[in-house]
Amino acid sequence: MTTNHILTVENLSTRFQTPDGEVEAVNNVNFHIDPGETLGVVGESGSGKTQIFLSLMGLLAKNGTSTGSVRYKDKEILNLRSRDLNKIRGVSMSMIFQDPMTSLNPFLKISRQMTEVLVEHRGMSEADALKRAVAMLDRVGISGAAQRVHMYPHEFSGGMRQRVMIAMALLCDPEVLIADEPTTALDVTVQAQILDLLRDLQKDFNTATVMITHDLGVVAGLCDRVMVMYGGRVVETGTVRDIFYDSHHPYTEGLLKSMPRIDRANEDSMFAIPGQPPNLQNLPTGCAYQERCGYVMDRCCVERPLLKDFGDGRASACFREDGQ
């Protein structure tokens, strides 16, 4: 089949071996992304968002294994040897992490960290690589980039470090940019700057972007399509309008209702989803959301709802309205 998907993920499952048994962090996940598109991935902490993308970038922890298929264009990349993966990773596909310090080396100047990949993968000279690094820092709004490129990570503020990370991720003009909660640790003022930056970059370079976040406000402003995760599984997908104005899954509905809104005067008490997020180590039989769901039926506790496709990229995993 020929498509113009830049990334196609099929039946991706990721398990971790732990002393207490196996944890299925990602369970049979399917999605794709096209050039110029922004996919939002939302869900509570521990729902598997990060592990999906660490799996496909070959960055899983040692006790983790993945099965399924991940294709970059037509090339299968899941479980590729590092040597082969390195031709894609950080070059055609880049990832920005929530905590910039996890991917910046505190002991190396930014200049060194940025030029390395260019020299190695693009065969640039040191001088040209430095020029490109400075241009990229400039592009992400770091003033005085020519001087600052020679600074160490700790000499930047949190917002600036996050920009440095974005600049690094963009050095090789990636076709896919994966941003894992890139603004969660930042102030709203700086978050707004970074989101503007991502929007502009996408316009300029037609990058396919994955935005992992738990902030539905960020998704509303930035994303074209949304994938909602719960307990390691995708429970709903759709366009941003589908998800916000006509959600099918009770969890999506609950998430939306429990978001406080700055543009509304307050009602008496906030809507709260009762209970706790599920423990992946012992998921209940049936639907993982059953203990917190307002619509739970007998069937939900014995049988697991499958993700049902409604066409046009719309899908939901719930017995309630899919007639399963």
Partner: protein, 337 residues
């Protein structure tokens, strides 16, 4: 001095009056014989807090929110100004006089697990303030009260002998709240109490705090960088920038008609979970980061990022003006912007 409150709370005497409160941290100067430089984390804050009222304190990271909260509770010694608790100044009073007052005010923190002693059972953690402040109570009475409080905050009383690491983030925050509430205090400083929690759990904790407030006529100081939650839970809101109050107003005024450019920028930067609204709203985008608090800008501290700054802003410090019954603003040009 103009200090105001939400209209319905104003009849009572304030429980807390803060006047010109300052916290300056001495930072060693560079060079062997250089003098210490003051880092003005809180630089002249005024407000009153009334029984049953929630004051929100907002602003970017490093603007002095936590320092203010701690200085009010005398967990940090203020460098200047007064804090009056029920009409009596508590700044600089002897430890022996302070101790009995401590049972009236408590604090809860952002990272619930990190502030709970991992070697104590949650029963011991919740009971600790009782043991300290009410040593006359018997063991059984303490246990009864702890169990009652656990049930009240939504923890199963039979979990009394478990350890903190066995609980989720939201449950740990409930433990923190139970511990803070066990002495039935009059004031709780909540320092980012829900920031580390998942959206679905945040609402549970906010609702719990609101219920407890109604039940016990609690006053709350709610420190947060999430202006959406603040809109929900607070009666009045104080906006801080580099240790200075930019705006102090009741909730409806500040969200419907913010008067300070910084408040406007903060509010407009909060994403709204509605694609249509979020993509079409007007925004004031601030450039750059917070300046170093060691060398704050002259005149108006906000001027280096203010889209409306003029010459006067670099030379004159704006004083806080009362623009209505319920709103005070520190900006030279609040009438024109």
């Amino acid at each position: 001095m103009t200090v105001m409150t939400a209209p319905d709370k104003r009849d009572n005497a304030p429980i807390l009056s803060v006047r010109d409160l300052k916290v300056h941290f001495p930072i060693p100067g560079k060079g062997l014989f250089a003098k210490d430089r003051p880092l003005k984390a809180v630089d002249g804050v005024n407000f009153d807090l009334f029984p049953g009222e929630t004051l929100g304190v907002v602003g970017e990271s490093g603007c002095g929110k936590s320092t203010l909260g701690r200085a009010i509770l005398q967990l940090i010694a203020p460098s200047g100004g007064q804090v009056a608790w029920l009409g009596k100044n508590i700044v600089g009073i002897p430890h022996r006089d302070m101790q009995p007052l401590r049972r009236d005010f408590q604090i809860i923190f952002q990272d619930p697990l990190a502030c709970l002693n991992p070697r104590m059972t949650i029963g011991e953690i919740i009971a600790e303030p009782l043991v300290t402040h009410k040593p006359e109570l018997g063991k059984d009475e303490i246990k009864t009260r702890v169990k009652r409080m656990m049930a009240r905050v939504g923890l199963l009383p039979q979990m009394i002998n478990r350890y903190p690491h066995e609980f989720s983030g939201g449950q740990c925050q409930r433990i923190g709240i139970a511990r803070a509430m066990i002495l039935e205090p009059k004031l709780i400083v909540c320092d980012e109490p829900v920031s580390a929690l998942d959206v679905s759990i945040q609402a549970q904790i906010v609702n719990l705090l609101q219920e407890l407030q109604r039940e016990f006529d609690l006053s709350l100081i709610f420190i947060s960088h999430d202006l959406s939650i603040v809109r929900h839970i607070c009666h009045r809101i104080m906006v801080l920038y580099l240790g200075n109050v930019m705006e102090l107003a009741d909730r409806d005024s500040i969200y419907a008609a913010p008067r300070h450019p910084y408040t406007k920028a903060l509010i407009s930067a909060v994403p709204i979970p509605d694609p249509e609204i979020e993509r079409n709203k007007e925004r004031i985008v601030l450039t750059g980061d917070l300046p170093s608090p060691l060398s704050p800008p002259s005149g108006c501290v906000f001027r280096t990022r203010c889209p409306f700054a003029q010459e006067k802003c670099a030379t004159d410090v704006p004083k806080i003006d009362r623009v209505s019954e319920t709103q005070e603003v520190a900006c030279h040009f609040h009438d024109n912007i």
